[in-house]
Amino acid sequence: MQTDKNGAAPRSMQRRKLMIGAAALALGMAAMPRLGLAQTPPTSEVNTTGLAVTDDTVKVGILHSITGTMAISETGSVQAEKLAIKQINDMGGVLGRKIEFTQEDGASDWPTFAEKAKKLLVEDKVAAVFGCWTSASRKAVLPVFEQYNGMLYYPTFYEGLEESPNVIYTGQEATQQILAGLDWVAKEKGAKSFYLLGSDYIWPRTSNKIARKHIEDHLGLKVVGEEYYPLGHTQFNSVINKIKLRKPDVIYAIVVGGSNVAFYKQLKAAGIDMTKEKPLLMTISVTEDEIRGIGGENIEGAYATMKYFQSLDNDNNKAFVKAFKDMWGQDIVIGDVTQAAYLGPWLWKAAVEKAGSFDIDKIKEASPGIELTTAPEGYVRIHENHHLWSKTRVGHAKADGQYEVVYETKELMEPDPFPEGYQ
């Protein structure tokens, strides 16, 4: 456990310089109504349910795995959340109160997540929790958040089929991530046949189910194979042979974790050169974060559909990337989920300010309709179903481990966690 009033321990020695940079960024983010210190409303008004709010501080929780298998993925989210909290504090905090955070380690173990969530809500009485990564951990903490009426900001793109008043889903649900990408590959690349592949658990299976429905029913194209491998599988030569035999136009891959690295290395070794796009590879599970493990040269030429890429060319994102690197090191990369995690504290701040209160019930009510014009991915808005309206983008992997954005939807995609006709 660790509590840090300032937000986080910056890596570099140039702390002062960094603060100035962050302050400058904060000014840039002043598009939201700015409640300065002068406007601090009394605690009895903004906190009627006994949360950990004092006259000048408010406590929140960060709940991710920093040990165990999932630490590899969740580290980026923790870093993003700490950055957001620090920036908000530099701007004067929320309702005139500085944010303090209590960090708990879910240790890649789902019961531990539930236990720590309960601790944060019951003992620490935090006003909001930013956390969880896998669906399994979210499912484990969900009853806790509903029972003790807490607020969870969940950053990961996930399979959908869930909607809770106590959760704001800052990542995209499956249809937001999948449909536009498939439309694009069918239209722009003339793809006719698809080979679906994934790790064997709920997210890849649900996502591929949606992909198959869309390919067959809406695009009228063909799925020539669908396969799942156990999590942690490291030998993909057989399936690569099968892919060669079936000759699909598109390999649609949702492989995760350590398997990911093995899959792309072996694909390249087997002579499938993704830059030739025969077949073309499209994935929804490889962000810039994963490419560091896979190696840019092994995945060059693949396409990924996400809502955010580090290379996005807009002013919000440039400021975000710079602040992130100043805080956590210059060689760091930022993936889709990291950006979604960064949105959590900002969306919570906006909701608190709109509600004029830290009370959970008021935040729940205030959340739908909240807009963020300063998001690195661009404009986002919270939907009635507590998911975000956001754009889908297609990135083309380059050898240096970054994606080049080749397509983005014109409109924001509506979140639809229970898509009709796709189940």
Partner: protein, 308 residues
């Protein structure tokens, strides 16, 4: 499923599939040899085997970074230097662990399971602290990537060939050490009868230490080789441990030939089934088959007659 294909296509695919099976076989042998030495010869259940492999992988990572920045000219052979270093790093750590932990537990084999499992957690967290929680990408020499195209369909992955070559070399080396050297004779003597071996003047503790170190060193080499085909992260070792035990137990714990035979059987079964079924089903069937055979033959495929 084959109706749409010509005979030549089918022939090519079966050739490729055979090769995939051989690569898997090599991977299994490489994973399991170190464990077979430790488990088979010493009766120690080393749950930290995967972490010793990953130490080798990290050594390879450091090495490739070092050569890339300081001596790019040596890059093409950096991998082999890394492999040697990995052997010594993992071997040295193994000997330290033997001295500090394992040697107190020889009389309690089940406790070695718990102790080494704890050790694996400690090592994982140590890697996480030192190298960061994220996976690292190991840059390989250019010539080790890609494939040799034989025909339109048949393409031989170069890293597969290298893994096979390394496996062959390591297996030969282990054979020579265990069956053709004085050290090997001592190891076998200690396995067959510890008291008697001690009585004729063999320093059994020293033999134990070197055997454990050798097993761990081979794990390090395996880890180093697997940077070509798999991931390098703090918990990547966990990906291999189940398959490794499967191979060793199925082969008959005390027999190195059994390990090789079992690796061959399991790898061929799995890669053939993976081709006809989905990946998860293939795994289930493989495990079922192994369990079935072990029920009929609990001692594994091959047994060495040992006086306990």
């Amino acid at each position: 499923m084959f109706a749409d294909y010509s005979w030549s296509e089918l022939g090519s695919i079966f050739a490729m599939q055979g090769f995939a099976g051989l690569v898997l076989f090599s991977v299994f042998v490489l994973m399991a040899l170190g464990l077979a030495i430790i488990f088979g010869q010493m009766g120690v259940i080393n749950m930290a085997h995967g972490e010793f492999m990953i130490l080798g992988a990290y050594v390879t990572y450091l090495c490739s970074n070092f050569f890339q920045s300081t001596a790019p000219a040596l890059m093409p052979i950096s991998f082999f230097i890394a492999m040697v270093l990995a052997f010594f790093a993992s071997g040295a750590l193994g000997m330290l662990v033997e001295m500090g932990l394992i040697r107190f537990l020889y009389k309690r084999p089940l406790d070695t399971l718990l102790a080494t499992w704890g050790l694996s957690l400690i090592l994982q967290q140590a890697y996480r602290t030192i190298f960061g929680a994220r996976e690292v990408g190991v840059t390989l020499p250019e010539w080790m990537m890609g494939s040799l195209p034989l025909t339109d369909i048949i393409e031989i992955p170069i890293n597969g060939l290298i893994v096979m070559a390394i496996t062959l070399a390591i297996t030969l080396a282990v054979y020579l050490i265990m069956f053709r050297s004085r050290f090997g004779a001592k190891v076998r003597a200690v396995v067959q009868n510890r008291q008697m071996a001690g009585a004729v003047g063999i320093d059994t503790e020293r033999v134990d230490r070197f055997t454990f170190g050798l097993g761990c060193g081979i794990a390090g080499v395996a880890g180093s080789a697997f940077t070509m085909i798999g991931s390098t992260g703090p918990s990547s070792g966990q990906l291999y441990i189940v398959d490794t035990f499967l191979v060793v137990v199925f082969g008959g714990a005390t027999s190195l030939i059994g390990t090789v035979a079992s690796a061959f059987t399991i790898s061929q079964a799995q890669s053939t089934m993976e081709f006809f079924l989905s990946g998860s089903m293939a795994k289930v069937l493989t495990l079922l088959t192994v369990v079935g055979i072990l029920m009929l033959r609990p001692q594994g495929l091959f047994v060495l007659k040992v006086r306990r």
